[in-house]
Amino acid sequence: MIGGQVFVIDHSRCIGCEACVHACEECGTHRGTSLIHLDHLDRGVSTQTAPTVCMHCEDPTCAKVCPADAIKQNEAGVVQSALKPRCIGCSNCVYACPFGVPRYFPEPDQMMKCDMCFDRTSQGLAPMCASVCPSEALWYGTPEQFAERRPGELINEFRFGNQAVRTHVAVVVDDRHDGPLDVTTMTVRQRWQDDPFGLGVSYTAGSTR
């Protein structure tokens, strides 16, 4: 939570429209550069897409691995882009982030990443991406508003091997006791999804990308 508000990602609702990608570019702190990630899991077999904003870790890996001490958290817990005067462009953060968030930009030789639209959130406004998201896959508000508006539980603890990570941004799951979230495999919830067109065989060609 940042300032009593929680930023929520619900991958199951993402429709891949890229409104977030385009809106990110409008953010006042990095105008003209979109920093959000939006990926097809495997377009060859599914339209499932997954948006990734910075998860804003409580103890950010990117900052820990930065040899130049260029990555700072502000008082609200927002992990910021590398400080331009300090960043040496080594990309340690790019490789170390467990969520794959930071990006190195040769021009202007700096790591840049999502800063939770701090120009907006510090003024009480929702971030650009969560403002425009047509499907509320990206959503911003208080936990009480979330509970009132929709089902699902929020998790903000992740395990990457031996590393445990707690984040300010939360992910929606059906049941937080189901175990760790795995967005890289597609869980078939409906039987038809094995054979959408009734071909009589489970057609699994794998990725055709």
Partner: protein
């Protein structure tokens, strides 16, 4: 002469599409924002609220409009980047006249010359060949006020019967079906009803890409436990999550809906009290589907019978339910029948006129709903009145102050107008906001027709592919350069506010049409000072019609965040939900079932053309792309049409994703990259239609029309698919732009 003055490439070099990537002055110009204007998006029928930021009489950005209840700040990618159509290098800034001798093919002329020449040519053609030899084609991205003005202008200033509009390519089949079944042409529900439904059927509607904001309404229903049924030849992003997926073969919708009605009847999942009290014709409708068993339908549609039965069970046994349909069932020679088959399902189970109950078309164009009500459709007068009905004609003649005989009769429809041009019966054309060279089926035919025009004058803000054929180009206004109202997918009339003035010598569209009317000697019918005058006259003209706006004012529309018609008198709150209490708009108050039996589409696959082709849209492009093909980020997202096909078909053709394929129909062929995905039927390919020339999907489509609504059958053609030489560099821009290791170029 309507031949191109120069080669297509020379015209593109001069007039675009060029790509606008950044706001005026660049991303970090630090412009002082003079004002922030509450308005709506210029694109689809969802009409999302948006705030436009203005600096130095230019739109320089946007801000989410959280307070507009329909979208609460949400926007799709087109809405986010819509502001980049302003201050665009391709913007037409002065009147132009065709001149092959000058660089660019058009020379700037004065407004007087452009208007005088247009009027002289119209008079010459009409004198020689009769008033109907000049046609007008219009569009429903235009406001209600402009739609009303164009209907009056064509009838009283041009004096032609041959006025039609590009809504003919959009949802006229839904309108005709609703009118004959329910007595009125409007989606019967406010979208706030969707979350109240226990079951939702989405039929032929790629909601996530073509009406993205509606996704959130459907998710909210699912949050309450609603079941989702999706009927589509493709597993669209919404279908991915459906409880029941009906992956039907293109053109077999009425077999599917007929079988669902059959199952409802067989299991008595019917609301007999509702059928008896509020409808007529059930027995005939039931008899028509007596042999439409799910097992039979499975052979026609390719959908397993058990899924059809499960869909019927969910629809028939749920207390509330909504059926949302769009172009996927409407773009057919059976468009009206398909929609009537859906309406039958709503009537049979009493799913009308209650919270969470209704059968709704998702209107496509920005003012698709309002535009078709105000009388710029060849068969209609304002208020959704019938141009052949003597009482309706008399009412409108009274408002217009003309004799009834001055109003021409029913004209021919958009596709028929182009065919009449091709046949030499129509020799002159005035068009606004319509790009038939991209949007009509059988592109080669449309091009041959345009080449035969003796005179063509166009009002537009960019030189569209069709406008390249014009003799005179009149620079009109962008959405943000004029004010007025539009009526949304919900039947909610909302206010469009002007953010900036038209640049250069460009003028508002109403100003241009009024000047033409005056020069045509009909100024006494066009004595108004601006769109608010037009709105007031339009409301009077609509009074007593089914689409009754008589109680609306601009002030009320703004204060109430839109008003749903009918709103028949001052103080009337408007009508968000139609048919409450089982009262329909026919004189007897009852709804009509129609007997719908399956029949084949106009073209079916055979040995020479063994693959079904269906066409549609992608999320980052809008209709014929005149605006969205000029915005860099939207082009980056989906740069060119791709041929979606299943791996089984790709294997037979011998291609993988990125290989180029040649797709051939009886009309022509195009070559484009393949996109191999398991999310489409193996017997079907999909190509989006937003592009012109050698990328035009409509090169392949069929000019067959629905007999009632005259909508073309865009959704079903028979094609052959063969491997071509070469391969694409990019088949999914997103994967290379955002997914590969390389950092994207920052936009500076």
């Amino acid at each position: 002469m309507a031949h191109l003055p120069l080669s297509e490439q020379d015209l593109i070099d001069r007039y675009g599409p060029h790509l606008n990537r950044a706001p005026p002055g660049g991303w970090n110009a630090g412009l002082k924002i003079d004002k922030v204007v509450d308005t709506h998006c210029c694109f689809c029928g969802q009409q999302c609220g948006i705030k436009l930021k203005v600096a130095d009489n230019q739109v320089v950005g946007f801000e989410p409009r959280y307070d507009f209840p329909f979208n609460e700040g949400k926007l799709c990618p087109k809405g986010v980047k819509r502001y980049l159509q302003g201050a665009h290098p391709d913007r037409l800034l002065e009147p132009l006249e065709r001149d092959p001798a000058v660089p660019g093919g058009f020379r700037p002329v004065s407004w007087d010359h452009a208007l005088d020449r247009t009027v002289a040519e119209i008079r010459r053609i009409q004198h020689a060949h009769g008033p109907d030899a000049v046609a007008m084609l219009s569009g429903v991205s235009l406001t209600n006020e402009k739609s009303y003005l164009i209907g009056k202008f064509a009838r009283l200033a041009l004096g032609t019967a041959n006025l039609d509009y590009n809504g003919r390519l959009c949802m006229v089949s839904a309108g005709a079906a609703s009118k004959r079944a329910l007595g009125v042409d409007r989606a019967p529900n406010p979208w706030s009803d969707i979350p109240l439904a226990d079951v939702i059927i989405v039929a032929g509607a790629n909601v996530a890409e073509c009406a993205p904001i509606t996704t959130s309404y459907i998710w909210r229903a699912r949050d309450r436990g609603a079941k989702l049924i999706v009927a589509d030849p493709r597993v669209t992003p919404l279908a991915r999550t459906a409880d029941v997926f009906l992956g039907l073969r293109p053109g077999t919708d009425s077999a599917l809906f007929g079988a669902i009605l059959h199952v409802l009847i067989a299991n008595d999942w019917l609301d007999h009290g509702y059928i008896d009290a509020h409808t007529v014709g059930f027995a005939d409708a039931a008899a028509a589907v007596a042999d439409h068993t799910p097992e039979w339908a499975a052979t026609v549609t390719g959908v397993p019978a058990d899924r059809i039965i499960e869909a019927a069970r969910l629809w028939g046994t749920s207390a509330t339910g909504m059926l949302l349909h769009a172009r996927g069932i409407e773009h057919h020679t059976k468009g009206v029948e398909n929609v009537n088959a859906c309406i039958n399902l709503g009537l049979a189970t009493g799913k009308y006129g209650r919270p969470g109950c209704g059968v709704c078309t998702i209107t496509g164009q920005g003012n698709g709903q309002g535009g078709r009500e105000q009388g710029h459709k060849c068969d209609q007068l304002p208020g959704n009145r019938d141009i052949t009905n003597p009482e309706h004609r008399a009412h409108v003649a009274g408002v217009w102050g003309c004799s009834v005989d001055e109003i021409p009769g029913k004209g021919i429809t958009a596709q028929e107008i182009v065919e009449a041009i091709h046949d030499g019966e129509i020799k002159g054309l005035l068009s606004i906001c319509f790009n038939p060279l991209v949007s009509l089926p059988d592109t080669a035919f449309t091009r041959r027709a345009l080449d035969k025009l003796e005179f063509y004058s166009v009002i537009d803000f960019f030189l569209s592919e069709t406008a390249q054929h014009a003799d005179i180009v009149l620079p009109g206004s962008l959405h943000e350069e004029d004010e007025g109202t539009v009526t949304t997918v919900e039947g909610r009339c909302v206010k469009i506010n002007a953010a900036v003035d038209p640049p250069g010598q460009a003028r508002t569209d109403w100003h241009i049409l009024r000047d033409l009317a005056w020069r045509l000697g009909r100024g006494h019918y066009f004595d108004f000072d601006g769109p608010e005058d037009l709105f007031e006259e339009m409301c009077r003209a609509s009074a007593g019609g089914s689409a009754d706006y008589a109680g609306m004012t601009w002030d009320r529309i703004v204060a109430e965040q839109g008003i749903f018609w009918p709103c028949p008198e001052p103080g009337h709150p408007g009508t968000p939900r139609l048919f409450e209490g089982g009262r329909f708009f026919h004189p007897d108050g009852k709804a009509k079932f129609f007997p719908i039996r399956y029949r084949d589409p106009a073209e079916v696959v055979d040995a020479d053309y063994p693959i079904w082709l269906t066409t549609g849209r992608v999320v980052s492009q809008y209709l014929s792309g005149v605006q969205t093909r000029r915005i860099a980020q939207l082009v980056d997202q989906y740069p060119e049409p791709l041929c979606e096909m299943h791996p089984l078909l790709a294997g037979r053709v011998g291609v993988v994703s990125g290989d180029r394929v040649t797709v051939t129909s009886r009309r022509g062929s195009i070559t484009l990259p393949a996109k191999v995905v398991e999310t489409i039927r193996p017997d079907t390919v999909f190509i989006p239609y937003h592009w012109p020339g050698d990328k035009a999907a409509n090169t392949l489509t069929n000019r067959a029309l629905d007999p009632i609504s005259k909508i073309p059958e865009y959704k079903v053609s028979a094609v052959n698919v063969e491997k071509a030489s070469g391969s694409a560099t990019v088949t999914d821009a997103r994967d290379t732009r955002l997914h590969d290791g390389e950092s994207p170029e920052p936009n500076r």
